[in-house]
Amino acid sequence: MVSRGLFYIVTAILFVTGLLFMIYQHVTFEVPFLPGDQREVWSVEAKVEFDPTGNGAATVDFSLPAVQPGFTQLSQSTASVGFGTSYVMKQNNSYVEWTKRNPLGLQTLYYRAEFLRDDSATASSMTIPELKQNTEPEPFATAMREIADAAMQRSSNPFSFTVQTIDELKRQPEIASLLLSQYRREELIVHILELAKIPARIVSVLDLEDARRNRALSSRIAVFDGQHYEIFDPQSGVSGVRDNQLIWKNHDGSLLDVQGGQNAHVSFSILRNSVAAAQAGSLKVQAALAAGEDIVSLSIASLPLEEQSLFKNILLLPIGVIIVVFLRIIIGVKTSGTFMPVLIAMAFLETSLLVGLIGFVSIVAIGLVVRSWLSHLNLLLVARISAVIITVIAIIGAISLFTYKIGLTEGIKVTFFPMIILSWTIERMSILWEEEGYKEVLKQGGGSLFVAVCAYLAMSSAAIQHLTFNFLGLQLIILSLVLIMGNYTGFRLFELKRFRPLSDKIKNQLNGDEKELEADRLKAERQNIKKLFPDTRPRDYFRRDKEEYKSRQDKD
């Protein structure tokens, strides 16, 4: 066993190192300890991949994000090994151009930009598209005209015409399916708008969601009425861009052009950072001063974005862990499975609390019912667990499908639940049910849920996210606290309640023939023994041996 002293020294060193780390970062980089008034900075990384065709040079043109109201672009940068990079204009649209003489093997190029959410930004690079003549072949032109006529009847201006067109496509499924066999939906709508002499354009938008990877752009339609334009969703007909939608491409040029390559593909990683409002102002100024430079230096910002967004969640895990440790060791909450609640809390972070709670309770409840039926079959464990896993997946699938059908898109997020862990939870709970009754199941299930909610509340707090993301030293502090709690030998809060009757009883009543409290009697006897055998500690032996040795030497 490691000696106590060493343990406390190590723990103290961890704690102090962590603290110094945090202070150092606070002082040198002026990272505030509290998030304060927050502004959002979205970091977006576009990853372009392609296979070279093999012979000769490659030129890659990638459209730069649009200037638009609501966002100020703070910075942009590129990363690409062995490529020459330049920013070019093609038909009045901005592109980044990568060039290389002899690329070999899969090529990966990165373009990275940071956007400040900024309500005072009003500039827009959107141009009015020129109106084209509709020259589509028959029978599609007639079909389009039919839709356009119907929509015209029911609309008063270009925008209501667009909404009605999308509506009409839903109302006349035969015509719609004919047209959609030939055109993509957004193309089709633009063609129909041409018939009504309404200028329109397909734009590509990116949904900004924190810590996402492998995202693609989605299409929207910008419809113009003179100078003014509005954006529509071609599927639902909902108008406007949401707060967290970024227009990436607002022109008719291509998004990605690769010469000398094939299988080109672009995907986006997104990460949200918070900066204090005060800081945001200066960032904007700096961005204006040094356009194109990477200035916003946030703690782990030196990593590629994709890794950063992974990190962001990983760094939150210890927060959940320390809460579990605290609730189990100090409070005495019973949970089923040690760290299952943390994983559930991580899932809650994705789904939002209410949806998560409903999802969790219904999955476990249905799972228990199915599992109780399985237990009649006397299956072996591996088969039983597998059956439960498949059931859980089916339940999750059913829930997401059902909620999606009734229009609750939130429901689809139940797929974030850790399925294997849930299956084990169900298995363990159902055994508990058989052995100890439903009360124990409710106790442990409720305990787990309570711990998960506590962990969720901590992990979702802006202040804690700010601290964990910006101060790596905090991890050392958490580690030292966990170590200290692992050594706590005092009572748990629930034990105080459990032992209350015992404590009263001992106070009021002596056992059998006893004349005094047993604890007091034994204490006196213990001190007697210590007096009888004073040298019981190893160092006492050592000291005695040394004295003996000395006295023998003196004699010689």
Binding site: T489, R492, L496, K507, E518, A519
Partner: protein, 327 residues
């Protein structure tokens, strides 16, 4: 407001009182006793009943005679050979717990067996039960397991009426070879014949010096009579008390675990026998004895290390210090 706080607080014990009485909490047990005195590598010895039994045989510790083991499908086919002409026996999974998978056979006519409950089962049922045990149906986490077949225990008649259906066992906590606290667990209707305290079994604290009942509790509350049989629990006195304690004390040298719970049963003919060992004994024994464990444990910790006593001497020491009744 203040009244409310007071009322809430009154449901909790004062931790200083608990410390004064030396009541042991879960954290203290885990860190200071199990963590410090029970080496991890020895846990399999007590979690696996076959290993425990082999060890007991080696050290001459009295335990039910092992008729045979069933380790694979081949053994199931040969079950008749293994059983020989035994009329009474008990089959249990080596890694089971809480009485799961235990089959008690009290009589036999050729290929038909009589269960403890009086029900008849045939050879086919017996084989099925064995293959369930092997497949891990009763063991923790569904691990593959083996089945033990051992002699039936004939429970001592002195306990008649003290237990509903199940049989009483004696739990002795042994610390560094000293028996420190003891309790009997009596099953009740509420506990479904099982001897688990939190399921409603009665716990009776037993005086280490005399083997007499100190106090009885059910569901954390003191009681006087057995709830189903109405028998006066305070008249309970464990026979062969010295032998029980010596048996418990000798489990230390055998297992090497410093802090264990030993489960001992009394056989009519063969006296006290070790049923199983537990490396993580529970805390409820304190409630049954109306005393904390810590003062007793610390008294033993205060003994000089070089002092090495044999089990009889350790029992004598325990009886001198931990008794509640004078005789």
């Amino acid at each position: 407001m203040l009244g409310f706080v007071k009322q809430a607080l009154s449901r909790y014990a004062n931790p200083l009182d608990l410390m004064h009485f030396g009541i042991m909490g879960m954290n203290q047990r885990n860190v200071n006793y199990i963590g410090r005195y029970n080496p991890r590598r020895l846990f399999p010895l007590v979690d696996n009943k076959l290993l425990t039994k082999r060890m007991a045989m080696e050290y001459g510790v009295n335990s039910p005679y092992l008729i045979g083991t069933v380790e694979d499908v081949h053994d199931i086919d040969n079950i008749l050979e293994i059983l020989g002409d035994k009329q009474e026996f008990c089959i249990k999974p080596a890694q089971g717990s809480g009485g799961k998978g235990i089959l008690v056979i009290t009589g036999r006519q050729g290929d038909s067996f009589i269960k403890g409950s009086g029900q008849n089962i045939n050879m086919h049922d017996l084989r099925r039960h064995l293959s369930n045990i092997l497949a891990g149906l009763f063991s923790l986490g569904g691990k593959q397991d083996i089945a033990l077949i051992e002699d039936l225990i004939h429970f001592d008649n002195v306990f008649a009426g003290y237990s509903y259906e199940g049989v009483p066992d004696t739990r002795v906590i042994v610390f560094k070879g000293f028996p420190v606290m003891c309790m009997m667990r009596l099953s009740t209707k509420a506990s479904d014949g099982k001897a688990n305290l939190h399921q409603g079994a009665v716990g009776v604290g037993i005086c280490i010096r005399t083997g007499r009942a100190v106090r009885a509790v059910q569901h954390n509350a003191p009681i006087r009579m057995h709830p189903d049989t109405g028998k006066d629990l305070f008249k309970l006195k464990v026979p062969h008390w010295d032998e029980v304690l010596t048996l418990a004390a000798s489990c230390y040298g055998m297992s090497g675990l410093g802090y264990i719970g030993t489960d001992i049963v009394l056989d009519k003919d063969r006296g006290p026998m070790l049923l199983e060992l537990n490396a993580r004994p529970g805390l409820a024994i304190q409630t049954a004895n109306n005393a904390g464990l810590v003062p007793r444990l610390r008294l033993i910790e205060a003994l000089p290390r070089r002092l090495s006593l044999n089990p009889q001497e350790r029992v004598a020491f325990a009886k001198e210090h931990f008794g509640v009744y004078l005789e």
